[in-house]
């Protein structure tokens, strides 16, 4: 049994315990998954407040809907589905406001960043632009990039979470990475920027 399967089994056990009336089991699930959901939401919005809110809403929803989960070993995928849907809902709710801020990000500073003498500042600005570039991606590409690149999910799992064919997921990732490449080129960001310590 590989570590992933072991983890799924432990989640399944905790879900069964919770269904059996042990509320502490749910808190253990929260402790196991909180960081991952928070990271996902943080990368999605680039905001700690939004990430915390989405994380809380995800677990509250999971708490109330856990009885509806058919395959207890897929708790993680199910949780990501909830978190992703909440992120999309939040984006719809304040879409216009966010869209405006994304538009503003498109005019990113270039020469100032690349000519800065301070390596640390250069690296920090590069990291900020990295996140800005990610936020500029279309939502469906951004979700796939985050899930694959940072959450380390398999294509099969992402397809299951998004309820899309695997090829669609791969295609979105390909176009997402290609778009990021173009953005980095247009902002004169290359991998040397991040090699400064």
């Amino acid at each position: 049994m590989n570590p992933g399967q072991q983890e799924h089994m432990e989640d399944a056990k905790l879900v069964q315990d919770f269904r059996g009336g042990n509320h502490q089991a749910f808190n253990k699930l929260v402790a196991r998954w909180q960081d991952r959901i928070h990271h996902f939401a943080y990368r999605f919005f680039a905001s700690s407040d939004d990430a915390a809110e989405i994380t809380q809403k995800t677990f509250i929803k999971a708490y109330h809907k856990l009885d509806t989960l058919d395959d207890v070993e897929k708790f993680g995928s199910w949780l990501y589905t909830i978190a992703n849907n909440l992120c999309l809902d939040e984006l719809k709710r304040v879409g216009r406001k966010r869209a405006t801020s994304y538009e503003a990000l498109k005019t990113a500073p270039q020469t100032e960043t690349t000519t800065s003498a301070d390596d640390k500042v250069l690296r920090n600005e590069g990291l900020v632009l990295l996140h800005k570039a990610l936020l500029q991606l279309p939502v469906e590409q951004r979700v796939v990039v985050i899930m694959k690149e940072y959450e380390g999910l398999k294509f099969r799992e992402i397809a299951e979470i998004l309820d899309e064919p695997e090829n669609t997921v791969k295609s979105r990732l390909y176009y997402g990475l290609s778009a990021l490449k173009k953005t980095f080129d247009s902002w004169n960001i290359n991998k040397e920027v991040f090699d400064y310590e």
Partner: protein, 226 residues
Amino acid sequence: MNKETARSLFMDYLYDELEQDQRKELEQFLAEHPDLQNELEELGEVRSMLEHLPVQDPAEQLVMMEPEQSGFQDWWNELIGSLIPKNGFARAGFAVASLLILFVVMGAFTKLNISVDDNGFELAFGDKQEVLQQGVTAQQVDYLLQQMKEENALMVADAVQQVQQAQDEKLEQSLINFADYIEEQRINDLQMISSGINNMEEVYYDRFRQTDQVLGDLIQTVSTRN
């Protein structure tokens, strides 16, 4: 393999989800097509840049669905769990016994007093008070009945008198109304008779005048002829 097929395998290759034989096949194809090799390397470079994206951990556990039970609560739950029998029948007996004990304890605190005598069942709380009067004698009952009868007779007589009075008043009012009506009719009749007499007088007066005039004319005619 063509270029499109090779591109469709890029993501699996980059994220190491490609079967070994497919991987080798793709690598051979890329060796023959440097443009594709370059494209794949650029995508890999993007990946290596994305790795640097910082992330923030939540400061604390953001969700706690139920507060952890205190030591006392755990102890209490264990105690209750150990006291209550598991068997259904025994559990019912335990519940009945608990209720009885509760009843006795509550009775002691509230000074519950239960008694059954000739007068019936009595349930009372607090100190028992002395009964001031047990009941009434037969004589008193007779006296009360007599008094009630008298009061009833008086009430009936009073009611009859009131009804009689009301009827008398109604009759009197009816007679007054009838008399007024008769008087009104009489006045109308007299007015009609008077009016008729006046008309007759006028008619006779006119006839007398006409007769006088004819007689005057006749006398004048005779006088003229003579």
